[in-house]
């Protein structure tokens, strides 16, 4: 369960104004709104990347607004798959290392062969097996986006946050992504920011952000 209670966030102007929101476990949520209304900001607040100016954020009953940096990092690594809107890969690591990155900070080391198996299966699923040795700047936009998504969800955490995951993807790739989300529906909590309607059929709830407030559509 994700609970946002009376949260406000402003930069130069108010982005979120006293917002409250409850997201049940294993629900499929789609966030919509015009550019710059605060969709990414809301995802960042849920992931603990951005601290709200006021209010409380609880994930699985943990008040993440109170956690220390290292506790927050552990929480994120264990619970959240975050698909970024842009630039999802570390450019000084090749694709294989990027996929392995979430396992680098595990307290108890996973077995190498198990990690390798996971990398192999996910790269097959996303069609990036042949570019594993390449660096991010040497691959196409679609390959980049697929690799970025693969690296975000490889650890299969229970909450998937996806910020415009269809960016740079053609129809075929959108279909791959669609299959993934279908597979995870009702198994994980999924929150997708998307301006296209393609995921709407899967959604339990569609939320609209407008003037610093969230509305059910």
């Amino acid at each position: 369960m994700i609970e946002i209670i009376d949260c406000s966030k402003s930069y130069e102007n108010i982005v979120l104004n006293n917002v409250s929101l409850k997201i049940k476990d294993k629900s499929f949520i789609i966030l919509k709104g015009l550019s710059g209304v605060g969709k990414s900001t809301l995802l960042n607040i849920i992931a603990g990347i951005v601290k709200p100016d006021s209010g409380i954020v609880k994930v699985n009953n943990i008040e993440i607004t109170e956690l220390s940096d290292s506790a927050l990092a552990k929480f994120r690594n264990a619970n959240i798959s975050y698909i970024r809107q842009t630039q999802g890969l570390v450019h000084w690591l090749n694709i294989r290392d990027n996929l392995e990155l979430p396992f680098y900070i595990d307290a108890q080391d996973m077995e190498k062969s198990a990690i390798k198996k996971m990398i192999d299966s996910i790269s097959e699923q996303f069609g990036i097996t042949n570019i594993l040795k390449k660096y991010p700047e040497k691959i196409s936009g679609g390959q980049y986006q697929r690799a970025a998504i693969a690296s975000s969800i490889i650890k299969s955490q229970n909450i998937i946050l996806a910020d415009e995951p269809t960016n740079n993807l053609d129809k075929n790739n959108i279909k791959i992504l669609m299959d993934i989300f279908k597979k995870y529906k009702s198994k994980k909590t999924i929150i997708i920011v998307s301006h296209i309607d393609i995921f709407d059929e899967l959604a339990d709830e569609i939320l609209l952000i407008e003037n610093g407030k969230i509305q059910n559509v």
Binding site: K74, R76, H91, W92, L93
Partner: protein
């Protein structure tokens, strides 16, 4: 987990190799300069100053007569020179000065003396200077005496006078005389035990009023011995002076004065100077050298540190640019679940790797450089001056110092650069 993070910093280093290579070069340049000057200044101290210190103890004042010369240019041929002798009276005055522990006088034979030398079948006669020093002075001196030979007088008039020679007279004989006359060279030991005949009251210009032949035996070598003559027990010198001149009153050319404390040396030296004598001590010279070298060292330190600060500032900027170019990556790492400390660890580890490698590299480079440079310089120096001298001094302590300085400076610099990066 930390080994994996270290692996990440290596991968980052590999990817950004060119940028980091310049940091590497900068680090090497300061380390090499630091190492070079440390080895040079230690070498100068060790090989020049310490060797000098070895010849004369520091806690000693050397007092000599003050020679004066009066020239009146208008009155041709009127010139007057003389010296204020060190008499028994002056010695007792000096011994009253507080802090003076012991006085060792040096007395010279004040009339002509010749020596007959019979060396390898080669006979010759020469004038020479003879001085006398008390045997106690040799007790704490660098002297080379062989087994049964003793610098001691016996009552038996048949036993020859024990005599000391200086090292330099042997060197002089070997390099000039032996060479010119095709005679075998002498080692320091070989001279000990040889007998010579001294003719007191006789010079190359002929006998004066009294003459006396006495045998002498070389018993050892001493740094205190007359440079180009012989040194014999002071009692004998006094006796001979009195034999030659009935009215002779004991007077001395030099006094070696030991003090209770090293700190007394300079004030006592000044008091002796006030008595109208020349007085100097190695302590004084050491003080002067220290003042001069302190000046030089501070200058070098100022220059070195301004170079270092410039280089460190550059490294800082370079590393900051390196980090700034990776801010997006740092954000991704945070999303994945890397904590701020994990990220700091990656970059600090990287700086550690860079600094360790550059330190090892600089130490190797400088050691090789110094090895060849030192060989070259000392070879040249030996060709021209016959002096064997090393200008550099290498010890593991310098390695350790340069190594830790390099590591500490780099890690500190990177740490400050990391502070400039917003991790949240």
């Amino acid at each position: 987990m930390y080994s994996k993070l270290a692996l990440l910093s290596l991968k980052n280093l590999k990817f950004n190799f060119f940028r980091i290579f310049f940091i590497f070069l900068g680090l090497i340049s300061i380390s090499v300069i630091l190492y070079f000057f440390l080895a040079l200044s230690l070498g100068i101290k060790k090989n020049l100053i310490d060797q000098y210190l070895e010849t004369i103890p520091v806690n000693e004042i050397i007092v000599t007569r003050k020679n004066f010369m009066l020239n009146v240019p208008l009155l041709k041929n009127f010139s007057f020179s003389g010296s204020s002798d060190i008499t028994q009276e002056i010695i007792s005055k000096i011994s009253e000065i507080k802090g003076v522990k012991k006085i060792y006088p040096v007395q010279n034979i004040s009339f002509p003396v010749s020596i007959y030398i019979d060396l390898f079948g080669y006979n010759f006669q020469s004038d020479l200077a003879i001085s006398g020093i008390p045997s106690e002075l040799l007790e704490e001196d660098h002297i080379k005496l062989k087994g049964e030979f003793k610098y001691e007088l016996t009552d038996n008039p048949q036993t020859p006078i024990p005599a000391l020679v200086s090292y330099s007279i042997i060197d002089l004989y070997n390099s000039n005389f032996a060479e010119a006359n095709k005679l075998p060279k002498l080692s320091y030991e070989a001279i000990i035990g040889r007998h010579f005949t001294l003719v007191f009251g006789y010079s190359s210009f002929g006998a004066i009023k009294k003459m006396q032949r006495i045998r002498c035996k070389i018993v050892g070598l001493s740094k205190r011995a007359e440079l180009l003559g012989l040194t014999i027990p002071i009692e004998t010198v006094d006796k001979l002076n009195k034999w030659f001149d009935d009215k002779y009153e004991s007077k001395y050319s030099t006094l070696y004065i030991k003090t209770d404390k090293i700190s007394d040396i300079i004030p006592i030296t000044n008091q002796i100077k006030n008595l109208g004598l020349n007085a100097y001590s190695l302590q004084e010279i050491v003080d002067k050298i220290n003042t001069v070298s302190f000046g030089i060292i501070s200058l070098v330190i100022i220059v070195l540190s301004s170079i270092s600060i410039a280089v460190i500032f550059n490294i800082f900027n370079y590393y900051l640019t390196h980090l700034k170019s990776q801010e997006t990556e740092i954000r991704i790492l945070k999303l994945i679940g890397f904590s701020n400390n994990n990220i700091r660890f990656i970059y600090l580890c990287q700086s550690l790797i860079i600094s360790i490698f550059s330190a090892i590299f600089s130490i190797i480079i400088t050691r090789i450089l110094i090895y060849y440079l030192d060989n070259f310089i000392s070879k040249k120096l030996f060709e021209f001056t016959n002096i064997k001298l090393s200008l550099f001094f290498l010890t593991y302590n310098i390695d350790i110092l340069v190594f830790s300085a390099s590591v500490i400076i780099t890690v500190f610099t990177v740490f400050s650069a990391l502070k400039q990066i917003k991790l949240n």
